[in-house]
Amino acid sequence: MNRTDLKNKYSIVGVGYTPQGKVLGRSAASFYLEATMNAINDAGLKKDDIDGLILYRDFPILQGDAMHHTANVITYSLGIRPKFLSQEAYCYRTNINKAIGAIENGTCKYVLIVFAESGRTGHRTWTDEIDLFSSKPYDEYAAYGNISAFTNYAMFASRAMHEHGTGPDLWAEIAVAHRKWANLNPNAIHYSKPLTKEDYLATPFLSWPFRALDATASTDGGRAIIITTTERARELKNPPIMIRGYGSANDTAKGWQLTPGDPASSAAIAGAQAFEMAGLCTKDIGAAQIYDCYTYTVEATLGDYGFFEKKKAADFLTVENIGPGGAFPVNTGGGLLSEGYYMGMTPIAEAVMQMSQRCGDRQLGVIPGTKLPEFMIVSDNGGFYQSNETLILERGK
């Protein structure tokens, strides 16, 4: 089979949101169920229609939950009998491949992908594995003092300063552009908190060369999407947002071993697969929703996709170009950095909402000087930039 046979054969037909940010008194399980039911209702389906359920990774449970949020536990509460269940054990990205595969092989008709968390209220620090895992410390590098994802990404970004001339001045532009988008998104955690480049530069380094504003933060809430065939999607109430191309790839490097500009990075390979399947090039893409766990991740991903020469990232990644009203909008909801951390659901859901013109004040084509894109690229990134699924979405007409 040729991968291009799948071009536009699958669509995203529903998106489920929940209250988000700091939401007291709510279990992660409750967010899983709310996001799931909202996506089902948004698509105009019944819960019994969902015959495939895929969850992002399972985290150590926090206060308010009695059980791990495994796919079978969520299934019991939903009262459904899916044919296919799956969940990432850790942060490698497989969801789109699995969803399309399960439908393509005839097992499923409607596959729902969901992530939910109570990390803000529950104080998930990204290092709590040190306390919560059964074995202490949780890996070899803890003895060295490397206990956070932050450190590994900072090492990746630090080398890029040397290789490509990037650094805090450029990352400030990315942080501010994301915040300006969030300031137009009432759902965003930072909706009412403006940010300037000066504000960014005045904050301390947490792990040089990164500041807190270079990173996303834990949130409460959840988000879900539903994938089905475009043929079935045409019978549903939302306009189908078609998957014109997708790709996935995984790196052999450890988190601290990443090489900026590696032509075989997971993003470079997954992106090339997606472009090839879609029969498109970077010039065809009107906007991007990029997995922005860190500011530099946006630079690395768009650079690996080929949107700019890596040493010229500073010309492309300006507030003017990627922020509201810019020629190449990036992360139009505020992204993981300023909207909320729902793993790949943050960029994918925003892409679907934009392309179905449900974005209010931040809607592309409504903001003066912007167009509603025909094609949008979306990245979902896992591990430490080691795992990537890339989507190129097309607006159904």
């Binding site: 803890a142 630090s158 040397h162 301390p204 040089w208």
Partner: protein, 142 residues
């Protein structure tokens, strides 16, 4: 003889039975050894049952130079976990060894992190915690 600096490490050293010998040799003999593949002639790290390059099972530990160049470095200043607070700041680096593999370590005696040059030549310095009974890699500029 490789220099040994006595330190207090923030956490116990967790090693795998595949890479244990690396840390044991460092702790007991202060020797720097690397996994080496007799089939393809390349070094790798950490230790594993197969060669990372060619997949051969014909691998052994070999004494190595303990010299390389800094690939990247950061300086942790924020207490991501309460138990690490008293040890901060901690500089962490990756080093491309003369033998090829890129390894991990603490950067020591470096002055200001902003001024540490990329690709600077470095040599191994063992960081030993007597109480925890373990030794990890430190790297110092030549």
């Amino acid at each position: 003889m490789t220099q040994v600096i006595k330190v207090n490490l923030p956490y116990d050293l967790r090693t795998s039975s595949d890479n244990d010998v690396f840390y044991k040799t460092a702790h007991e003999e202060q020797n720097f050894i690397l996994p080496y593949c007799n089939s393809c002639g390349k070094y790798f790290w950490p230790g594993a049952i197969i060669c990372q390059h060619c997949g051969s099972f014909d691998v052994e530990w070999k004494e190595a130079s303990g010299h390389g160049k800094i690939y990247s470095h950061v300086e942790g200043r924020f207490s991501f976990h309460p138990d690490i607070k008293e040890y901060l700041p901690i500089a962490i680096c990756s080093v491309v060894l003369d033998e090829g593999p890129r390894v991990f370590g603490r950067l020591v005696n470096y002055g200001e992190i902003e001024k540490v040059p990329y690709d600077a030549p470095v040599h191994i310095v063992w960081l030993t915690d007597d109480e925890k009974g373990c030794t990890i890699m430190g790297w110092e500029m030549d």
